[in-house]
C-alpha cells in the first residue's frame, strides 16, 4: 500500500528521495551526535555541570560564546553594508569584491589564521600601528574576535544579498514622495523586510564562529583563562587522554549551540509573521 499520509504529487521519486535524505542525515548528523550524548551520559547531569563549572572550562565557554556573539553582531552591520554595496551600486571591481567575499569561506582556516596573525601581530602591517597606539590584537581575545568576524562575514553577506536584491527600489521612492527623510526610509522601509535575512545570517555566522578552530588557534595565543576557546580545550583534553572531559565540553557546547539556534528560529518565526511573510 502507498503511504496514505501523502497527497498525490505529480513529482516522481518522493519515497526514495526522502529515504536518501533521512539516511544521510542519520549517518552524518544524528548518529554521531547521539553517540556523543551517549558517551557523556556516563557522567550524569551532575558530572556535566561540575565539569562546566570548572574555572578553565567556564572561561573557555564564556570566551567562545561571548566573542562569537559579538562577532556575529558586528557582522550584521558590516555584512549589511557589504551586501548593500554589492547589490545597489555598479562600480569597477564589483565582481572582484563579490568574489573576495567568499574567500573566508573557501580558504583553509589555517591559512586564514596564519595570514591574520601575520598582519595583526605587533610587527605586522596593521598590528604595528595599533601596537604603537597601545592596542594589542594578535594573541589576545581581540585577535580571536577579528578572526571570528573574518570567517563570519560571508554568511551574513550571502544571506542578506538575495533578499536585498529583491527589494523594489520603488518602495524607497514611494517613501520619499510621502515626505520621509533618507534615514527614516532606511530604518522604516528598507531594513524591516530584511530582518529575517539578517537573523539567518546572524545565526549562521554565530554557529560558524562557535565551532571555529583553525583560524583562531593561530591568532589567539591560547592562554588558558584568557584566550583559550572551547574547541581548543576539547583538543587539549584529548591530548591529555581525558576523553570524558573532552566529551563533556563537547556535549555542553552542543547543548548551548542547539539552544541558541532554537531561540533564533523562534525569533525568526515571530519576525516573519510580524512582517507579513506569513
Amino acid at each position: 500500500m502507498r503511504i496514505a499520509l501523502l497527497k498525490p504529487s505529480p513529482l516522481p521519486g518522493f519515497a526514495p528521495a526522502l529515504g536518501a535524505a533521512l539516511l544521510w542525515l542519520g549517518v552524518l548528523v544524528l548518529i554521531p551526535l547521539a553517540a556523543l550524548v551517549w558517551r557523556a551520559s556516563g557522567l550524569g547531569l551532575s558530572g556535566l555541570l561540575s565539569i562546566a563549572s570548572q574555572p578553565r572550562v567556564a572561561a573557555a565557554l564564556k570566551l567562545s560564546f561571548g566573542l562569537s556573539f559579538l562577532a556575529a553582531m558586528l557582522n550584521v552591520g558590516l555584512g549589511g553594508v557589504v551586501a548593500w554595496v554589492l547589490t545597489r551600486y555598479e562600480f569597477p571591481g564589483r565582481r572582484l569584491l563579490d568574489a573576495a567575499v567568499d574567500l573566508p569561506f573557501a580558504l583553509p582556516t589555517a591559512v586564514a589564521g596564519v595570514a591574520l596573525t601575520a598582519v595583526y601581530a605587533p610587527n605586522g602591517w596593521i598590528g604595528g600601528p595599533l601596537d604603537a597606539l597601545g592596542l594589542k590584537v594578535a594573541f589576545t581575545p581581540l585577535g580571536i574576535f577579528v578572526a571570528l568576524v573574518f570567517i563570519g562575514l560571508p554568511f551574513m553577506v550571502r544571506s542578506v544579498e538575495p533578499v536585498l536584491a529583491e527589494v523594489e527600489p520603488e518602495t524607497e521612492e514611494a517613501s520619499a514622495t510621502l515626505g520621509a527623510s533618507r534615514l527614516r526610509t532606511i530604518f522604516q522601509v528598507v531594513l524591516p523586510p530584511l530582518a529575517p535575512a539578517f537573523l539567518t545570517g546572524f545565526a549562521l555566522a554565530l554557529a560558524r564562529a562557535v565551532g571555529e578552530y583553525g583560524s583562531v588557534v593561530f591568532i589567539s595565543g591560547n592562554i588558558p583563562f584568557v584566550s583559550e576557546i572551547a574547541p581548543l580545550l576539547i583538543v587539549v583534553r584529548l591530548e591529555e587522554f581525558d576523553e570524558a572531559g573532552a566529551t563533556a565540553v563537547a556535549t555542553i557546547m552542543l547543548a548551548l549551540s542547539f539552544a541558541l539556534l532554537l531561540i533564533i528560529n523562534l525569533v525568526q518565526a515571530r519576525v516573519r509573521r510580524r512582517t507579513g511573510h506569513a
Binding site: 514611494a174 517613501s175 514622495t177 515626505g179 507579513g276
Partner: protein, 357 residues
C-alpha cells in the same frame, strides 16, 4: 494646483529621453500622458515628482518654481506601476505612513491619523481591510491602497504611473470608472501615464501624446481622435489608412486621380491619412474605386479590405449597416476627414474632392 512645464530636457547617458517638453495643466484637470513604450512618458511623470533630475527646463506648481525642490518638499502623490506598498506594514500603516513621518510640529495626533486613515479606507472602498497586509490583497485592492496612501498627505498634484497596467481587463474597466469618479469628488490635479489609448481617451479631460521624448499633440479626446495633428498621432490613435500621394504643380495626386489642390510651391512626396469609418461607399465611376478582397466582422462593424484601382494600394474600409458588399465586388469611394502631411507637417487640401478634417 496648476502645473507649468517649460523646456524640460532629460538624457540618460547618450540617449535623450525628453527633449524640450512644454506642458500646461490646469488646476483640477485630469491629464493622460499617452505614448508607446520608450516615448518618455514615465520619465516626464517622474521628473514632475522630482524622482528624476532634468538636465534643463522648469517645473512650476501653482506659480511656484518646484524645479529645485526635493521629492519630499514637492508634496506630490505618486502611485507606482507596481504599487510599491510596504509589505511589512498593514494597510492602515501604509496609508498612515506619510502622516507619521512628518516632523513633530506638523504631525497630526494619533487619533486624527486613525480618523484620516478610516476616511481614506472608506473613500477607496476598503473599509475593514485596515489590518490586512499587502500580500493578502488582490491587485485591484493593492492599487486602491496605493492611491489612499498617496492621497493621505493631501498632495498638491496626483501622479499615476500606468495605474491599471498590472490588472486584468475586467478590474481595469471597473477601476477606470471608479478613478474618474474619485477625481470628480476630490478634484486633485491629476496626471496619469498609460500606453492604452482607450484608457487615455475615456478617462482624460485632455490627452497629451508623447513620441520619442517630444509632445506630438495635446487636446481633448475628441480633438485628438478627430483631428490628429501629426502623422504619428493619426497612426497611433485609432485605425487609419496611409496612402502615399504626389504633390506637383499645386495638385495632390493619388496615381492618376487628382485629390485636390494644395498651396503652390509644395512639391514631392506626401502622405494621406484617413480612418476606415471615414471612407464612404459610392457608385463606381467617382474619384476613387477598388475591388473588395476580404470582408470580416469586428464586433459591431463590418470591415472590408479594398485594393484601390488608382495605385494598387490596400486600404481598410468600414461598411455601412446592411450593405450587401461581397468579396470581388467593385465599389466607388469618397474620403472624408482626411489628413494630408508633407514632411510631417499638415497641408491643407483646398477643394472638395476629398474633405479634410
Amino acid at each position: 494646483m496648476d502645473i507649468k512645464i517649460r523646456g524640460l530636457q532629460k538624457t540618460f547617458g547618450a540617449s535623450p529621453a525628453l527633449h524640450g517638453v512644454d506642458l500646461d495643466v490646469g488646476s483640477g484637470e485630469l491629464i493622460g500622458l499617452l505614448g508607446p513604450s520608450g516615448s518618455g512618458k514615465t520619465t516626464l511623470l517622474r521628473a514632475i515628482a522630482g524622482l528624476e533630475t532634468p538636465n534643463a527646463g522648469q517645473i512650476h506648481f501653482g506659480g511656484q518654481d518646484a524645479s529645485r525642490q526635493s521629492v519630499q518638499e514637492r508634496r506630490v502623490g505618486f502611485v507606482f506601476q507596481n504599487y510599491a506598498l510596504f509589505r511589512h506594514m498593514s494597510v492602515a500603516e501604509n496609508i498612515a505612513y506619510g502622516l507619521r513621518v512628518r516632523p513633530r510640529a506638523t504631525r497630526p495626533a494619533a487619533r486624527q491619523i486613525t480618523h484620516r486613515v478610516n476616511e481614506l479606507l472608506e473613500l477607496v472602498q476598503l473599509t475593514g481591510f485596515d489590518a490586512r497586509f499587502p500580500g493578502q490583497l488582490s491587485g485591484g485592492q493593492r492599487q486602491r491602497v496605493a492611491l489612499a496612501r498617496a492621497l493621505a498627505v493631501e498632495p498638491r498634484v496626483l501622479l499615476l504611473d500606468e495605474p491599471f497596467g498590472a490588472l486584468d481587463a475586467r478590474v481595469r474597466k471597473d477601476l477606470r470608472h471608479w478613478l474618474r469618479d474619485l477625481h470628480k469628488r476630490t478634484g486633485h490635479t491629476t496626471i496619469f501615464v498609460t500606453h492604452d489609448q482607450d484608457e487615455a481617451l475615456e478617462m482624460s479631460d485632455r490627452v497629451a501624446i508623447l513620441n520619442r521624448g517630444a509632445l506630438e499633440q495635446i487636446g481633448a479626446p475628441d480633438e485628438i481622435y478627430d483631428s490628429p495633428a501629426t502623422p504619428f498621432v493619426f497612426q497611433f490613435i485609432g485605425d487609419s489608412n496611409r496612402l502615399p500621394v504626389d504633390l506637383a504643380n499645386g495638385r495632390a495626386r493619388l496615381g492618376a486621380a487628382i485629390l485636390g489642390h494644395v498651396a503652390p510651391g509644395l512639391e514631392g512626396a506626401a502622405e494621406l491619412f484617413f480612418r476606415p469609418e471615414n471612407a464612404v461607399l459610392e457608385a463606381v465611376g467617382g474619384l476613387l474605386s477598388g475591388e473588395v478582397t476580404h470582408v470580416r466582422r469586428q464586433g459591431a462593424r463590418r470591415r472590408a479590405d479594398v485594393r484601390l484601382d488608382q495605385t494598387g494600394a490596400m486600404i481598410e474600409v468600414d461598411l455601412p449597416h446592411g450593405a450587401a458588399t461581397q468579396v470581388t465586388q467593385r465599389i466607388g469611394l469618397r474620403l472624408e476627414r482626411v489628413g494630408l502631411f508633407a514632411q510631417g507637417r499638415r497641408v491643407s487640401l483646398l477643394d472638395e474632392a476629398c474633405r479634410a478634417a
